[in-house]
Symmetry: C2
Subunit: 121 residues, 2 copies
C-alpha cells in the first residue's frame, strides 16, 4: 500500500529482527528497505547492480577486499556492482538500503543470513 | 569521482543556491541529489519516472492536485510517475532527491527555476 509520508522511526519500531530488510517504499523498479544490523554479515557481492547504504541511526562499517570504510548517521555509500563487501556494526545500527527489486541480501553467497525478499511494512 | 563515504552535512555546506540540485552519488543509472528549498516551486510532473524526496533537515510540503502532505527530517515520500506536484517550504529545508539520471527538476513545465542537470559536488 502506497503511503504519502514514510517516517523512518515509525517503520523501525515495527520490527526487531536483525539483518532482515523490510521494504518501506518502491520507486519504479527500485526498493527502499530498512534494516537493523549488528555483528558481521557475510562476504558477498551483487553481480548486476550497485547498492546504496544510508545510515539513519548509529554507526556501521563496510569491509572491502582492499579497505574498510566507516559510516555514521547522515552518511551514505555506494557499493559498486560486483565489488565484494561485508557490512558490520559493533552496536545495532539502523540503515536504509536502496537497490533494485529482487536483489538478494547475501548475493550468491547464501547462508543463514539470507533474508526473504519483499517483506513490506 | 566516486567517494566511499558521503556526508550529507559536508555536501550541503558546499552550496547555498536554492532549488538547484547537486549530485552526490550515482547508483546504476540513478542519481542521489541534495537540494535546498524555500518558498514555492513550480507545478510539474515527471512523465517517465517516480521521484523520491527524503528530508534531511527541516520541514517541507508537497502539494498535489487532491491533497497536501508534510514531511520533516527522517521522513520520505515517493511521488508517482505522472502525478502533478508542487514542493514548498516555509523555512529553508534540506532534501535528498533520488531519481533516474536526466530528470529535469521542472519536468516539462520549464520556467526560471529549471536547474542545470549533472552538477556534481
Amino acid at each position: 500500500m502506497k503511503q504519502d509520508q514514510i517516517n523512518f522511526a515509525d517503520k523501525f519500531a515495527k520490527f526487531n529482527e536483525q539483518w532482515s530488510p523490510r521494504v518501506i517504499a518502491e520507486m519504479n523498479d527500485y526498493q527502499f528497505k530498512l534494516v537493523k544490523i549488528q555483528g558481521e554479515f557475510t562476504w558477498h557481492d551483487h553481480k548486476d547492480t550497485d547498492e546504496v547504504f544510508i545510515v539513519i541511526e548509529g554507526e556501521m562499517g563496510i569491509e572491502f577486499r582492499d579497505r574498510v570504510i566507516h559510516l555514521k548517521a547522515g552518511e551514505m555509500c555506494v557499493v559498486s556492482k560486483g565489488e565484494e563487501h561485508k557490512p558490520f556494526a559493533e552496536q545495532e545500527c539502523k540503515v536504509m538500503i536502496v537497490e533494485p527489486k529482487g536483489v538478494v541480501n547475501t548475493g550468491e553467497a547464501g547462508g543463514e543470513l539470507t533474508a526473504k525478499n519483499d517483506v513490506y511494512i
